[in-house]
Symmetry: C2
Subunit: 399 residues, 2 copies
């Protein structure tokens, strides 16, 4: 999870294996209770004891410690069929906050969420920055603004995650393969943001985060192996396996833009053949004229304009090829299409499914994303939340 990210300086994940002494035992049981409350909803002490296998006194004392630390609180009572009413406990969502940032080519999105994952403040800013430096400044100022709007103290934001095109190289401290953002490959850009924000900041690939977003909040929930194909300015894929991001050896897994594609004239990459620009080019090839954008082509296709329909069909075929490849290699139970063309995925689904039928006997479920343009942002929030929960839990007794 963290391999792509920069950890705060205080991170101690390097020490080999902590021994399981008593202190850790208690801490693990508190964690067990907290996780149970998070995933299973509010519960009483007696209920927790039954479900976790711990004894009632242990649950009582651990819960007291958690309440003392501000991690859980009473949320009401529940009367059983007979007997004394039960006091229900639930995690306190205000025990900490997480920051998610989506840096896209044309939009910058920032959101603050509480530990329950509820977004408490958010901003969507048009990205007009011309230089990577201006861009970094915009990120920092927007993030500060959103945190201020949320009414949350900056020190209560336990963790932040940034999504960006390309792959963040931890050692070189820079992003690689971010073709569509000029200057974005400069070293130290994110160190600067981290420093100015004063919040631990992790950097991840946008397609990966979008995949996690759809997995956590969207259509991918519960999937065992789930592939998210992001089609837009570029082409990317994020893979979630057993609930965890699949990153490959160097964080480059899912960089399907590099798939070889047998171009009609010269061999190229799949990205050239599938990205938004390729749709425009195909439309031209079929006879459309004028100032075209991918969106314009899709809109025309929706109206039934012949050349546009043809271009979309061709795009569908190419995406089907991508899906076929991903399916044979990964065996997903769900493939989700999203990204910049998200609003037009409905047009693509049929040609994709039809082509796929002719290509391969393997046929995973294919669905459009449910989060639309928010997938990356929500994925960043979800990822930041994971770490934020850990951080908040870890420092519960340190104060």
């Amino acid at each position: 999870m963290s391999e792509n990210g920069a950890m705060p300086a205080s991170d101690a994940a390097e020490q080999p294996e902590q021994p399981w002494n008593r202190r850790r035992l208690r801490s693990t049981n508190e964690r067990l209770l907290l996780d149970r409350l998070r995933t299973g909803g509010a519960a009483s002490r007696a209920q927790l004891a039954r479900e976790t296998g711990l004894s009632k006194p242990t649950v009582s004392s651990a819960l007291a410690a958690l309440e003392e630390a501000g991690l859980v609180h009473e949320v009401g009572t529940q009367a059983p069929e007979r007997g004394r009413v039960a006091v229900l406990y639930a995690p306190d969502p205000a025990a900490g906050y997480a920051l998610g940032i989506d840096i896209g080519r044309s939009w910058l999105r920032v959101a603050v969420a509480d530990l329950d994952g509820a977004v408490v403040a958010r901003a969507d800013v048009r990205n007009r920055a011309r230089t990577s430096g201006a861009m970094a400044d915009l990120v920092v100022s927007t993030a500060r603004q959103v945190v201020a709007n949320s009414g949350v103290g900056a020190h209560e934001v336990a963790h932040a995650v940034v999504g960006t095109p390309g792959v963040y190289d931890e050692k070189q401290r820079r992003v690689r393969y971010a073709m569509h953002l000029p200057g974005w490959g400069r070293a130290g850009l994110f160190d600067r943001m981290r420093e100015e924000l004063g919040i631990p900041l992790e950097v991840h690939n946008d397609a990966n985060l979008a995949a996690l977003g759809e997995y956590t909040y969207g259509v991918g929930a519960g999937s065992r192996l789930f592939a998210y194909i992001m089609i837009g300015t570029g082409l990317g894929m994020g893979v979630v396996s057993e609930g965890r991001l699949f990153t490959g050896a160097h964080g480059g897994a899912g960089e399907i833009g590099f798939l070889p594609w047998p171009g009609r004239h010269k061999p190229g990459t799949l990205e050239d053949a599938v990205s938004g620009e390729a749709v425009v080019e195909a439309a031209r090839h079929f006879g459309m004229t004028g100032q075209l954008t991918a969106k314009a082509v899709f809109d025309a296709a929706r109206e039934g304009h012949g050349p546009a329909v043809e271009a979309v069909r061709l795009e569908g075929e190419r995406i089907a090829h991508t899906v076929a490849v991903a399916t044979a290699v990964l065996d997903p139970d769900l493939v989700v299409l999203g990204g910049g063309v998200g609003h037009s995925v409905d047009l693509l689904l049929r040609p994709v499914r039809e082509t796929l039928r002719a290509l391969t006997p393997l046929r995973p479920r294919i669905a459009p994303g449910r989060l639309g343009e928010d997938a990356v942002l929500l994925g960043a929030v979800a990822t930041a939340l994971g770490t934020a929960r850990d951080v908040v839990f870890e420092r519960r007794s340190a104060s």
Copy 2:
């Protein structure tokens, strides 16, 4: 790991989350010590205490319990630069055994290994069975024979793993996609073997096991993400991520035989284009005549025979395509070529590398397998060992 396999009836992996009571604490620390001894070699009590962070008395008592259970034993002494000599302990390899079985189209291989992974008995039997029933009988009788030869009691064999082409479907209790073994898709075949052998038995895909074999004993050691491409009668890929098998949603990950392949005449699958038969066909196409086998073509190419060289070059190009696809999707740091053509991989490496250079900017390390025909068998042994170690450890105090 076990998702493809059938667990013994006593398996209790279903219960949600054991609480971390004291008993489990002790058990975890014993496990910590045992793992340390397994991976780090023999060590004294004091050394273990330093390395694990446990106190010396705790190490002493845990080690005493392990010795009592027969899991570790003294293996000698070591004099430090100054001071009293240390008594060294190591895991007792004879505390249990594992059984590995490789069911191939033409060979059946069986091996028994001790907990250190050392093979103590082995048999390689030509597979002449005509029916799947006869095949199952042969597996059982050979396995019994090998266990008998090893001098190990049958009840000391804690776990067995079988490798077979195809994907084992846990629910239907049968193998799917095993085209090259007639009748092999029958339901209940492996249940019968398990019953007759009286040993818990897991079934896995052969390419997956070969990947684990090369990872554990061969060229893949230490790789973060490692892909093993098995080229032979069929075409398969096994993926090892962070030391664990990557299986996909239904155990079908790496079934790259199903990759669409733009055939000259009709669209087909990659398996048709790359498998042994395709090499023969290509050689014919280039002008070779006679009763050809894949091996014959490779041998001729080694002698410099023109048409054979061409056929091998073509095969190399197609494999390069496979590698390019796997690389873009998975981002491996190592791709290993093996399988039936293992003896001729040296001939393929150059064309593969050259073609790859033209296809994609991503270039993982490519290497031939080190285990040759034994990859599947050793992978089965390695996998069985993993479970066997757990089983032996779990039942240490049950006696």
